[in-house]
């Protein structure tokens, strides 16, 4: 079995079987990562282009290493966001890349829909590595992988996603992916960072952290963009941290074995206290490691891996 689609644009398009396939494939990829010699010939002769319009060390590096371990030729193109408005259009960039016959283009872009835009115009597989506040499916898949690895299952698990939900592609992707896998999702944050109508996505909504984290199996903290303060969405970092920062004290309201996740990079001491980030239930570094395995799985599956010929 392979993926039924050319591109990976968002979690909403994946079936639960496809998500399971990706996670299962990632498990076998994780085994490769732990070998002494990590290179396997799976994608030899395939070309992967990382097209990044936003700086992102971890996602770009993760895709780059994943591609290289699978023996693909990986090319990185970093374009500053400012060139989006004054430089070559995304369409022309895409068509230029297309003329070089890449097999997979991994795109990170500040505009929601940028990956969809490329996918409809290019023959290459497009993997969305984050488009504005829209989707970040590889992050959601690695989060699911990490939870499944730790707990052994996904169905019936309860998660609280905490922070700036409105501007978070991680939150959007995770809500859809988790619900697809039978998990219950809560969101919590300042009212100004909870998008209107969010409850219509089938999530429970909280503006109180203690109440939000009670009874959940996983707490997923989101990174706070400090510039939101200037935008008037919260009064000060101090107050945000006091109301929504995850501290050891606040964790007392949660289950004793609750798992802590964060997509990184962390603002230590703001959304998450250092002792919580480094504590025994923190999965933050597992997430990074699993990101590699999941991205190897995605590159493999998008390049046609798993397809059985008749």
């Amino acid at each position: 079995m392979g993926l039924a689609r050319k591109d990976l644009l968002g979690m909403q398009e994946l079936t639960s079987d496809e998500i399971r396939l990706i996670l299962d494939t990632a498990e076998s990829m994780k085994e490769v990562a732990r070998r002494d010699i990590k290179k396997v010939p799976t994608l030899r002769g395939k070309t992967v282009i990382n097209l990044f319009y936003e700086p992102s060390t971890r996602t770009r590096t993760s895709f780059e290493i994943a591609g290289k371990w699978l023996s693909a030729d990986v090319i990185n193109i970093s374009t500053s966001a400012s060139s989006v408005t004054k430089g070559e259009s995304l369409k022309d960039t895409g068509l230029t890349l297309q003329a070089m016959y890449p097999d997979i283009v991994v795109i990170r872009h500040p505009a929601p829909g940028a990956a969809v835009f490329l996918a409809t115009r290019l023959a290459a597989s497009i993997i969305n590595a984050g488009d504005g506040a829209h989707q970040h499916p590889s992050q959601a898949l690695l989060d699911l992988f990490t939870i499944r690895e730790k707990i052994g299952r996904l169905e019936g698990m309860k998660v609280a996603i905490v922070g700036d939900i409105a501007h978070s592609r991680v939150a959007r992707s995770n809500i859809q992916g988790m619900q697809r896998m039978g998990m219950e999702v809560r969101v919590a944050g300042p009212r100004t960072m909870l998008p209107r109508f969010i409850e219509r996505l089938g999530v429970e909504v909280f503006t109180n952290l203690e109440r939000a984290v009670a009874e959940v199996d996983v707490i997923m903290m989101l990174r706070l963009q400090t510039e939101r303060q200037q935008a008037g969405l919260f009064p000060s970092l101090r107050e945000y941290s006091r109301l929504f920062g995850l501290t050891a004290e606040r964790l007392k309201a949660a289950k004793p074995d609750v798992l802590i996740m964060h997509p990184g990079p962390i603002n230590r001491g703001i959304e998450i206290a250092p002792d919580v980030a480094d504590g025994p239930y923190s999965l933050i570094l597992n997430q990074v490691e699993n990101g590699l395995a999941v991205r190897m799985a995605l590159l493999y599956l998008c390049a046609g891996g798993g397809q059985t010929s008749a």
């Binding site: 835009f117 504005g132 829209h134 998008p195 109508f197």
Partner: protein
């Protein structure tokens, strides 16, 4: 040139006219209106069918035509004839962005859509904030335009919202209203003064109602779709807050306020209440806000990106109610041409606006008239007598002695929207590929057939 238009169903809501009539046109005027005896028969539901004439009748008719010295007979059997449609909100882009549209191409698009007159907004380059720009538009329209063009002058110099434009001079030059369309006048004091000043000329002040702080960097309606797609939202109160402010200003100044492209349920409610207490306010709605919702942006197609944005189904229903109960006076297209390359971009970066001149009538007939939401005369009034009343144009009547500005259309002709065939230079329509019922057959301006299918 003498033209006889024979056998059509003539509807003029302003004159209370809805009958099978023959219109005789001479020297640009309607000179005679006769009861049609040519055998057109009205079916229940308004459709007309042509019955065979007897040879005797046909001969008598031909004799009558030749006695009148008619140069051309247009057979309108089975068709509707109404006063020429007026679009009080278009962007012709000339001067400044002739790659998107020109007065020639935009007015030809208008003619194809059945419009005999359009009002062009002042956000050209240079801005229509002086007599010379207004004169340029009028001169070019006279020379190259297919239909009548009425310029709207700016409220503030350069549309900057800082100083009043020379409104008196714009009025003298031929501007029929003032507006900073595309931008709101955010400064309430300046808006108050603009309205007061405009009362000297009884010019309507047309406001693009939007609180720029509330809209922020929004690109779509703030709703379920923006939440799902992660696109920044423009809340409906962004419009309603400014509508509320301007209604109070209109009430206190006694000025005539016209609110452009109303999109939100809250705005409709506020305008309804203001009208009930006698505020001199009118407003318009676009065909796309009446027929599409926020769902149209789900695939990030920038051809559904506009300001105000397509809103929720509840808003759309409120607009329809407003149209039915008379709260909303006019349907106008906000025809906003943009080049293909400008629209074929990331959604965030594409410009706002869609074209509408060549689809408006058919969209209205298909989505409002056919399902019985508006009667045909009601719909025609929103496109003819109502804009004429607001702008004080004497262009709405089918009467002996009136200018022969006429639209002839077929209620039943089906077609599929193919923007590549448009007369407009631009293609940015959200209706591409839609099957519509109802099509313009001919457009006459001053007795001249300026477009014919």
């Amino acid at each position: 040139m003498r033209i006889l238009i024979r056998g059509g169903r003539v509807i003029d809501p302003a004159a209370g006219l809805d009958d099978l009539l023959d219109l005789f046109i001479e020297d640009g005027k309607i000179v005679r209106i006769d009861k049609n005896t040519g055998g057109g028969r009205r079916e229940a539901g308004g459709a007309d069918t042509k019955e065979p004439r007897t040879g005797k009748e046909a001969k008598a008719s031909r004799n009558a035509e030749s006695a009148l010295g008619v140069d051309r007979v247009m057979d309108a059997t089975g068709l509707v004839i109404c006063p020429g449609l007026i679009d009080m909100h278009v962007h012709l882009r000339q001067p400044g962005r002739e790659d998107k549209e020109t007065i020639a191409s935009g007015t030809m698009a208008a003619a194809r859509g059945g419009f005999t007159a359009v009002c062009c907004m002042p956000n050209t380059d240079p801005v229509n904030d002086t007599r010379s720009v207004a004169k340029f538009i009028l001169d070019t329209a006279k020379r190259e335009g297919a239909v009548q063009v009425y310029p709207v002058g700016a409220i503030t110099k350069g549309l900057k919202g800082e100083e009043l434009a020379e409104i008196g001079e714009l009025f003298e030059a031929g501007c029929v209203a003032i507006s900073d369309d595309g931008r709101p006048v955010m400064n309430a004091e300046l808006m108050r003064r603009a309205m007061e000043y405009a009362t000297m000329f009884d010019l309507p002040t047309i406001q693009h109602s939007e609180d720029l702080h509330l809209s922020g960097k929004g690109v779509v309606h703030e709703g379920l779709v923006s939440t799902e797609l992660g696109l920044r939202g423009i809340p409906s109160v962004s419009e309603a807050v400014l509508v509320a402010r301007d209604l109070l200003l209109a009430e206190s100044t006694g000025a005539r306020l016209h609110i452009a492209h109303v999109s939100a349920a809250e705005s409709v409610r506020l305008i309804r209440e203001a009208k009930a207490r006698g505020v001199r306010v009118s407003c318009e709605v676009t065909p796309h806000h009446l027929t599409l919702t926020e769902d149209a942006v789900r695939d990030f197609d920038a051809n559904a990106k506009m300001n105000p944005p397509l809103r929720s189904e509840a808003d759309r229903q409120a607009l329809i109610e407003g149209l039915q109960d008379g709260t909303i006076d006019v349907i106008a297209t906000d025809h906003a041409p943009h080049t293909v390359q400008e629209k074929e971009r990331e959604f965030d970066l594409a410009p706002n606006g869609v074209i509408g001149l060549e689809t408006a009538l058919a969209v209205i007939l298909t989505t409002l008239v056919a399902p019985g939401i508006l009667s045909l005369p009601q719909a025609i009034a929103k496109l003819t007598s109502e804009p004429a009343r607001i702008l004080k144009l004497s262009k709405e009547r089918i009467a002996e002695g009136a200018d022969a500005d006429l639209t002839i259309f077929d209620l039943h002709r089906e077609w599929i929207v193919d923007p590549t065939t448009f007369a407009s230079k631009s293609r940015n329509t959200p209706f591409a590929g839609r099957r519509l019922t109802g099509a313009t057959v001919a457009t006459l301006v001053g007795g001249k057939v300026v477009w014919e299918a």
